[in-house]
Amino acid sequence: MTGEEAQTNGHRIGVYVCHCGTNIAGVVDVEHVSEWAKDALGDRGVVVGKDYKFMCSDLGQELIQKDIEREGLDRVVVAACSPHLHEKTFRNATERGGLNPYLCEMASIREQVSWVHTNKAIATEKAKAMISGAVERVKEHESLEPFRVPIEEATLIVGGGIAGIQSALEIANAGHPVYLVEREPSIGGHMAQFDKTFPTLDCSACILTPRMSEVGVHPNIELLTWSEVEKVEGYVGNFAVTIRKKASYVINEDCTGCGICWQKCPKKVIDDKFEVGLGYRKAIYTPFEQAVPKYPVIDHDNCTYFEKGSCKACEKFCPTEAINFEDEDEVITVNVGNIVLATGYDLFDARRIPQYGYGRLANVFTSLEFERMTNAAGPTDGDIVLRDGVTAPKSVGIVHCVGSRDRNFNNYCSSICCMQSLKFAHLVHERTGAEVFNFYIDIRTPAKEYDEFYQRVLDEGTRFVRGRVAEVTDAARLPGEEGKLIVQVEDTLAGQQRRIPVDMVILSAALEPRTDAYETAKKFGIACSANGWFTEKHPKLDPVATMTEGVFIAGCSTGPKDIPATVSQGSAAAARILSYIEMGELALEPVRATVIAEQCSGCRICNDLCPFNAISYDAETELSEINIALCQGCGTCVAACPAGAITGTGFSNEQVLAQIEGLLMLNVEPQPVAEPA
């Protein structure tokens, strides 16, 4: 082997430099660069150096195709835009020319050179270095084949709110099996607690309950309420999910949902879930009348029988002998191809802002409490009254952005609070005629019919005070404040401090990630943003997918959103899954890590490094292994393996090191070396 062959390894590389109109050619001397590639990199294997106006055009792609055939190229380098834009395009062109698509590499000389530098000479030199790096790298590329996995037809949906319901129905209606897991005794989620929905003011229950019933009776949906996911194993197309069905002490097959048991149950419990503490339920209960499924559950911690060993009123009165006090948790495993996480949100705990008085001042309510209060099926039968249960307020203050847009708590906008507050203002005005004050920072009403609703509420005479509320207090200082709640606020439009006495204050509390969102994310191998919302694969272009193939997200678990957006996401996740089911198998990027068994010492350094649990230790062979289907290709284990026993396709050590050498132009400008003195 001659020296030259040693460097080229017999490669025949084509380098294509794109003008991108004037986007690149205006700053980089593209003709010079393509000439240079052929000449200066000739002894590194470059046999073709061409420049063309638009490499991504059909003609540009054909140039590559034809050269592969005619010149016998075995590697292709395209110096053009970012690979995030056209890597696929040029890989496809490479493939059409008869080469494996992964034998193509791009150098980003537009985004990283011509668009960010102005000096033509300097930009041209940098473009050369980038191409030099790509040439060295592409020599280390290997032919790769996409990794194909079959897709199990069934889908798991976690969370029975409107997002999960929507996903479940879309997939089930298309004829595919769905497991819908809900930790509460009924599906419905937050939407089931609301009275009216903005801006149309249609009754929440009226539009939700038909969907719930549809889920309840759907032949393709297996409803697993009062259940939680314990463990997720496997990968896209083939997840094995372990689900704990909590003991309900009710035999669903025998239960008719007649309701005699909860009528007879002697134990009243404050309902801090569905009625957010405003009402009571029994120890055996369904959260609300239209619950799906209709079967009640016994709240073990509050049941008199479990506390004292006697009672069993429910059992005595049950006409179908459907009570079973010996019931135990059941753990089942289901196999699914895809998963939707629609786990919703928690409401910001308004006690965290003590100066607003929630929990201390009786007539300060949270938004969810107010929702229950206005609901005809709620604890006050829909009457808007003070905490005493009888007095109608004469004036009501609604505080926006409680825990949102606040650096002390959450920087983000909770998105729904403005419209929700406007809805409250309308309802108070309509039902009590009370004077209403909205304390807001900005009014945000960007969706269809939203601003019209704002105009309507303005016309109704609701007052708007622009400014963040400093304090809600019952300490009267001025005449007329006695017995009232005083809202202390800087009116930033009037430019003055104001004290506004009202009878009732409603806090429009922020939407926050579930307190266990991080654990959930970890369980399913997906990421949370710093705020705690599930992270999308791409915030704009792939908003319901995650970094983990086969795990989709929908609704408020990804961030605050209104019902239409939540439903859209539920449908979108379902659509993505339906296309996977339709395809039958999925081709995954072949960027994966593998352990070379011969070199692995079983030191177990790598064992805890993979967040996707792709790495396991075989106690028998005393070696670590990587499940290639679970691997997402980040390469952390490749870098960590002390023995160098883990290799990563697509970003191998050889590829990276060669690119470093190329970028440093060691290939074209060898560093002079002096012999020792």
Partner: protein, 333 residues
Amino acid sequence: MSENGKPKFAMYWAASCGGCEIAVLNIHERILDVDANFEVAFWPVAMDAKYKDVEAMQDGEILLTLFNGGIRNEENEHIAKLLRKKSQLLVAFGSCANEGCIPGLANLSPMEALFETAYHTASTENPEGILPQYEYDVPEGTITIPTMYPVLRTLDQVVDVDYYIPGCPPESHQIEAVIDAVIAVLKGEAELPPKGTVLGVGTSTVCDECSRKRDVKKIKQFVRIQDVERIDPEICLLEQGILCNGPATASGCTALCPAAGAPCAGCYGPANGVIDYGARMMASVASVIDSRDPDEIDAILDGLVDPAGSFYRFNLAHSLLHTGQASWNGKGS
């Protein structure tokens, strides 16, 4: 080939401690196999020889040369180049020739500092402060000693090397295995391995041969072995917070040190294909530190008091950086 028909064998000792020579003698009666199959042409430690006898040989006259020690001075380099020319197979024998070893650690310091330590510190009795002179005039004429180079180089940084046998020193059973293999080749019973092969090592790292129990690693604290009150005799030393280089060090030594309760120092060098030994240890150890808090990570890393010396104890001269900045900032020669 010699007159008696036996191929010629040589062994040389450059900048190293001599342990490698002892390791060869430590194969006991098997040394007779060497004598039976080879004519010892040049082995200064074992028999008298003159450089000019080697210079007078034909190129390639020696079949096999085991070269131990790094290249620290003019003489080392001269003999390395000479033996390269005269030998068909040149083997870098032992850690110094392979990767620099302990003498290579001197690459962290400028020459002045080395001379200062060697000739002027309390452990050296040198009341007149005499330093070696490269040239010295005596009545008989001028005598010279070899010039010292500012840094130590490994054998393959100076000449082409055919095979590598690592270890400080190479384990006797590995030397025996290599001798057996060479004899098998001589008898036509086996083929030579590809040039550049590392001989006398396993395919994996020390953990593969270590009998300590290993679990998932989460390091909350590093401790130096002298500060540990009781070392658990069963559990992986790294899991006990003791920096053990076993995970990154080529297997072949039968994990002698961890078995004796001492962490692996890394004398067998990197596993096959690894480019920078220290980087492997750094990457793996840092990966399993159990903290996400920058301050806590720093506090944990404070427990590694000598990172360069710990991660590059044997491999500095052969690392990507080869040397420390101080050695070339110093005036040297």
